[in-house]
């Protein structure tokens, strides 16, 4: 796993009771007593939370304050979470009541921006009053739904420095640079990062909607919705049509986009010997991905690995450093300049993962009763950069 997955501590009441010592106070305001109910959170959620919530942003603060507000919970607040299917078909009333009974017996969900916070209210040994126990979190990003997944190109237009992002009619990418985006809200942002990452204003974009990168991501669900399948098929199609590209194809893959590449590679027969790959802040099982690319004889040359201050990528690196170094070590030996860049990449992965691990060791400090979850989140914030 690239990221520590959120524990399913809410699976049963028995498991919950077994893990009581793993819960820590959420913030100084939620330690119970004069300020309201106590709000506690499972300490294994530290790293997922660190990756999703940045206390320096407006959204991050909204999330933290809303969770703190759980201390005023008197009645159970529930929101419609939907059935999770593509068209979100309405559930029958009878089904809803039954489902409601089942879930309320276990846990509640607070939905705040892109975060689902699963919690239960319970009075356990040592609690003076029933408190809130947060047992897991899930990420559901927001995204514009108008743009279809697939290949896009830039097109200059009248009176604008910023070109338009337009869907390509063909899928011929021979001799081009193609960028696969991470988690972004719409295709214009994706195209902007594409130009930045490739340093080429004519780079092509393979647009992967936010919903898809969520679903294939480490905190996603195992079921694939139609849009994810469509995106995968589009990408597989691009690979198949350009498999024997004579001028080669340079792929730039950022963040969560690495997951969709990994999925697509499983369904592509034959080798990709003329395709070159570069990764920017990959948030995925990078070691495994590099291995499967090597198996397909894909080119990983020069500075194929880049990191620029992305906290989730940092954690992900920290967690899989040894594996990653082993895989890179097995790559065919490079020539000339490659030897220098290879050692540079190895060194930077080493250094970065050390920093990533420092953030991770903050998690261990959570067992100390003196510090709360949010305080440590802020302390770990220095490792974001």
């Amino acid at each position: 796993m690239s990221l520590p997955s959120a524990p399913n501590a809410s699976a049963s009441y028995f498991q919950f009771q077994q893990s009581l010592d793993q819960y820590v106070f959420f913030s100084p305001l939620t330690m119970g007593g004069a300020s309201g109910r106590a709000v506690k959170i499972h300490k294994d959620l530290f790293l997922p939370f660190f990756c999703v919530v940045d206390p320096n942003t407006h959204d991050g603060q909204s999330i933290i304050r809303q969770i703190e507000n759980l201390r005023t919970t008197c009645t159970i607040v529930r929101k419609e979470t939907g059935s999770g299917y593509r068209n979100n078909p309405p559930q029958g009333d009878k089904h809803k009541t039954q489902l409601g009974k089942v879930t309320s017996a276990f846990h509640q969900v607070l939905i705040i921006k892109n975060l689902h916070v699963h919690y239960r209210m319970s009075q356990e040994a040592g609690d003076k009053a029933p408190g809130i126990y947060i047992s897991s979190i899930r990420v559901v990003s927001e995204g514009a739904s108008t743009s279809a997944p697939g290949l896009y190109e830039s097109k200059a237009s009248f009176g604008s420095k910023m070109p338009l992002t337009e869907k390509m009619k063909s899928s011929a990418v021979d001799g081009k640079k193609v960028y696969i985006n991470g988690n972004v809200q719409n295709k214009d942002q994706a195209m902007k990062s594409a130009r930045y990452a490739t340093n080429d204003n004519n780079a092509l974009l393979f647009y992967c909607p936010a919903r898809v990168s969520d679903e294939l991501g480490v905190m996603g669900s195992s079921a694939k919705s139609n849009i994810t399948n469509n995106t995968l098929n589009e990408l597989i199609n691009v690979f198949k049509q350009n498999q024997k590209a004579s001028r080669g194809v340079s792929w730039y893959v950022e963040g969560e986009g690495a997951n969709i590449l990994a999925q697509a590679l499983k369904q592509i027969p034959g080798d990709l010997s003329t395709h070159e790959f570069r990764f920017v802040n990959p948030i995925a099982n990078t070691a495994k991905l590099l291995e499967s690319l090597t198996n397909k004889k894909a080119k990983l040359e020069g500075e194929f690995f880049k990191y620029d201050q992305n906290r989730a990528a940092l954690i992900s690196l920290g967690a899989q450093k040894d594996e990653l170094l082993r895989v890179i070590g097995k790559l065919p030996a490079g020539k000339n300049y490659d030897i220098i860049t290879r050692s540079y990449i190895l060194k930077s992965i080493n250094d970065l993962s050390n920093t990533g691990n420092k953030a991770a060791t903050q998690e261990a400090k959570l067992s100390l009763a003196t510090k709360t979850f949010v305080q440590l989140l802020k302390a770990a914030g220095v490792y974001r950069k």
Partner: protein, 237 residues
Amino acid sequence: MIFPRNIIGPQFSKGDIVTFAFAGTELSLRLPIIPLNKHNEDSVSSIKDFRNQDISTWSEDDQGNHCEQLAYQSWSFEDAGSLDNIALSKLSVSLVHVNPNKLLNSSLLKFSTFEKLVMDGLAYSFPNDESPEHSKSRFFAKPIAQENIDWLQVMIHFDLEKTPIPTMFIPLTQSFFIMISLEIESLHYAGRTNPYSNEVLKQFEFDLFEDFLSHVKVEYTPETIAQINLLNNKTPA
């Protein structure tokens, strides 16, 4: 401006006043103060004085006009009830220096020249089978009456997957004009429906655009005004 229903977000009337200087003209905008967030963008041109700028290094559009982005801001509007991000907003103000070959000794300060140039430019960038005469109705072009020289409002179909968005063209000097566009895009979380329909958001986009324009001030010097009157055959008041 009062936002519809439960929408919350930055107000233009409380934004920062930013001023840009041109030869004979001064432009001021009120740019909204947007919160720091992961997906937001907030950039304003570092050049504020365009009187003696070397424009040859600027990037060009598809017709050889030099362009500079005066401001580009992108932020999300929230729903006050759920705090969900419900719409993504993109505000773009770009400055265009018209290729002298296209002007042929005429001036943008003559409205008919300005209008023709903009319509021709749009027809070139967004080609259609129709003849150029029809392009005016295709883009819903309409002049907006102003004290000195009129502005030109058009609806541009930048993205065929979406609906046309309102764009305003404002002549500043002989060869400079600005293009202001605002777009609102509906945001969705998987499994949750957006409480605001596309119609509501489209109307909101238009109202916001009007609101932003109401804070745009273009001040011409008396000399420029005299020139405008002369070019447009207007008798001075």
